[in-house]
């Protein structure tokens, strides 16, 4: 959990290496066997040029960052809205980052507005968007 909640506070980065093996395991776990993810010969014939990671796998990494920052508040009161800007390929290193943009205290609830994003090792944006976390207000607990 973050030690303090304030505007500008960065969220703990999450760094993951994408491999075809991880993509295959994710396909098994999620049941998403779209050939663009797992069939290298199929994917090679598409404009993407090769297999790509599931978008939901990349979002799992975003969610991991939010859990690290906000604990169970994320899973019980979180909101995520993202756009996929480009695919993540096997061999890519994905860095998930974010920061608190603003906070709002309303009806004993603290709304924490964050920007979130994922970049590859070339610093190209893969995912960008925003997240909101709702925390029950506890006086003195946060520097909001």
């Amino acid at each position: 959990m973050l030690s303090e909640i304030r505007e500008g506070k960065t969220l703990p980065q999450v760094v993951k290496n994408i491999t075809q093996e991880k993509i295959n395991i994710y396909a098994e776990a999620s049941g998403d066997f779209n050939p663009i993810h797992i069939d290298e010969s199929f994917a090679a014939q598409t404009p993407l040029g090769g297999t790509i990671a599931h978008g939901m796998l990349i979002l799992a990494y975003v969610s991991e960052m939010m859990v690290q920052a906000f604990g169970q508040n994320w899973a019980s009161g979180g909101k995520l809205s993202v756009r996929f800007k480009m695919p993540a390929y096997p061999g890519d290193t994905v860095t998930v980052s974010g920061q608190i943009d603003s906070t709002e205290h309303r009806d004993d609830v603290l709304y924490i507005n964050c920007s979130v994003g994922c970049c590859n090792q070339k610093d190209e944006t893969i995912v960008s968007g925003g997240a909101i976390v709702k925390l029950r207000w506890q006086k003195g607990l946060f520097n909001a």
């Binding site: 991880k22 395991i25 779209n34 663009i36 939901m56 991991e64 909101k79």
Partner: protein, 139 residues
Amino acid sequence: MADKGRREASVSYEELVAGDEFPPVSYELSATLVSKYIEAADCSTDENVPPLAIGACAMTAMSGSLSLPGGVIHASQEFEFFKLVPIGATVSCQSRVARKITRSSMDMLVLELDVFNEDKEKVQSGKATIVLPAKGTNA
């Protein structure tokens, strides 16, 4: 099938219309399934199911009602989480076609879903925009 129709069988993009609802799907978020997800997503959890695991299963359940070509990709995604879901719980997913966008070079679908626990409480909602392969190519 008319708008707001209930889709009982796997249907193609051409057959879908905005407002179509897919049959509700129930599934157990078993310890085995969650364990497999945690390994795949390289994450950890407590006694609750990672929210994205619920979303991923819901998306897969929804896609079971669709017959789409290989090469479909994700353009955007929204999720809202309302309640924790313990490992071993059974949830049900209701999904529908919110928008169908047909362009000369590209087709897109906006799909919405709601996930409920056994007490009929909404635990999660989502909205996915997916892009179908460009016409005349694999993707």
